[in-house]
């Protein structure tokens, strides 16, 4: 199983198209910096992106340097995955 320890999902509320295009730029960066869970669509809709732990510092400074407000929707993906797997095992038992 891939391990997502430390990976976070950030929620960004882009104010305008310019901020949306800044987010879209992230998608093409190498190495892969983000995996969009809710892609950049329109200012009225939130953008959710999973950021690997190794890229967190870079991505957060990119967001802050461009004035993009964000919140941490999921603090550690692996914690939720472990809970999900435990719930499945419990149900099976």
């Amino acid at each position: 199983q891939m391990n997502f320890t430390g990976d976070q999902v950030l929620r960004i509320l882009a104010k305008d198209e310019e901020q949306l295009s800044l987010l879209r730029k992230l998608e093409g960066m190498k190495p892969q910096k983000v995996d969009f869970w809710r892609g950049p669509a329109r200012p009225s809709l939130p953008v959710d992106m999973r950021v690997p732990f190794s890229e967190l510092k870079n991505v957060k400074s990119y967001l802050e340097s461009h004035g993009l407000d964000y919140s941490v929707m999921i603090k550690d993906i692996q914690v939720l995955l472990d809970e999900e797997r435990e719930a499945m095992a419990k149900s099976r038992r």
């Binding site: 998608e27 995996d35 719930a87 149900s91 099976r92």
Partner: protein, 310 residues
């Protein structure tokens, strides 16, 4: 393994093997109204299975429902399973559903992307695409909701095989998409198509590949409004609705655009829960309420389809 559906938990997530075993038990236990059709093989040669709900007749108009085309969207498979159970439970009791099934068939493909789904259990919970590979191409998988013919390769899809929205080498290149196209085209009387995704609480209709409205825009808009109202009344979850390109973003090569362009007027795409805390990792405790509200919306669309034959 479960020996009957009675011990199957509809409020838990399940592996592909468990779901396929459930399908066999489900069909055996409800053989008077449900049968199983294999419409093809996935890239890794897994069976692609469709449940057919029918009370008889031949060549009846029908409704198509698919869940799980993006493998990490587990709430959609779980919702499909719950709705299948609901249909056999409520036929003969719910007059709306009974009228629908006395005149139409319902086809449900619960695991539309079996390879991707198996991979979310074995290696990568957050896998989205199928698992196809091509010689000389390093990255794996095509986005099965960018591989349909209408608008193929347009905006909102990606020609980069490493992208999560990679559209594939050519339209319907993926066996999982080709199987549905072949089945629906051969059937010829599918009157509504409902493709279920997660997450972000949206109910949308064509087009995705262009901002141009479809000719039935008004009817689909009002039907979507009715459906999300019925959904809201279940648990108070608010949905937004409209065409894909104006509600969400431009996306090309998607299921419902193909469906609409192939004569299926009532073509809808759902984005189910999460409301903003768990994303794709929606806790299993939310399976039943999500399924309950989704059923109310689907029931609304199916009833409208029955009452407005074309």
């Amino acid at each position: 393994l479960e020996r009957s559906t009675s011990s199957f938990s509809y409020s838990s997530y399940h592996t592909l093997e468990e779901i396929y075993n459930w399908i066999d038990s489900f069909v055996t236990e409800h053989s008077d109204i449900v049968s199983k059709i294999q419409i093809g093989q996935s890239f890794e040669n897994r069976s692609i299975l469709v449940l057919k709900f029918s009370t008889g007749g031949s060549q009846r108009p029908a409704i198509w429902i698919d869940t799980g085309i993006h493998s990490r969207e587990w709430i959609t498979h779980a919702t499909g399973i719950w709705i299948a159970k609901k249909i056999v439970t409520k036929y003969g009791k719910d007059p709306v559903l009974t009228n629908i099934l006395n005149a139409m068939d319902i086809f449900m493909e619960i695991v539309t992307n079996p390879d991707g789904f198996a991979f979310t259990h074995s290696m990568n919970r957050l896998w989205r695409k199928n698992k196809s590979t091509r010689p000389g191409i390093f990255c794996i998988g095509v986005d099965l909701n960018r591989n349909w013919k209408t608008g193929f390769g347009g905006n909102g899809s990606n020609k980069n095989p490493c992208s999560e929205t990679y559209h594939g080498p050519f339209p319907q290149s993926e066996p999982e998409v080709a199987a549905i196209v072949k089945f629906i085209t051969a059937h010829g009387k599918i009157k509504a198509l409902i493709s279920i995704h997660s997450y972000s609480q949206m109910l949308m209709y064509p087009y995705g590949h262009t901002l141009e409205p479809v000719s039935n825009q008004r009817e689909l808009y009002y039907l979507a409004r009715e459906a999300v109202k019925a959904l809201y009344e279940a648990h108070g979850v608010e949905y937004i609705y409209g065409s894909i390109s104006t509600t969400l973003y431009v996306a090309s090569g998607i299921t419902v655009d193909w469906a609409y362009d192939n004569g299926i007027k009532y073509a809808f795409s759902f984005e189910l829960r999460d409301t903003g805390r768990y994303g794709f990792l929606l806790p299993a405790t939310q399976i039943v309420p999500t399924a309950q509200e989704t059923w109310m919306a689907i029931r609304t669309i199916m009833e409208h389809t029955l009452k407005h034959p074309y």
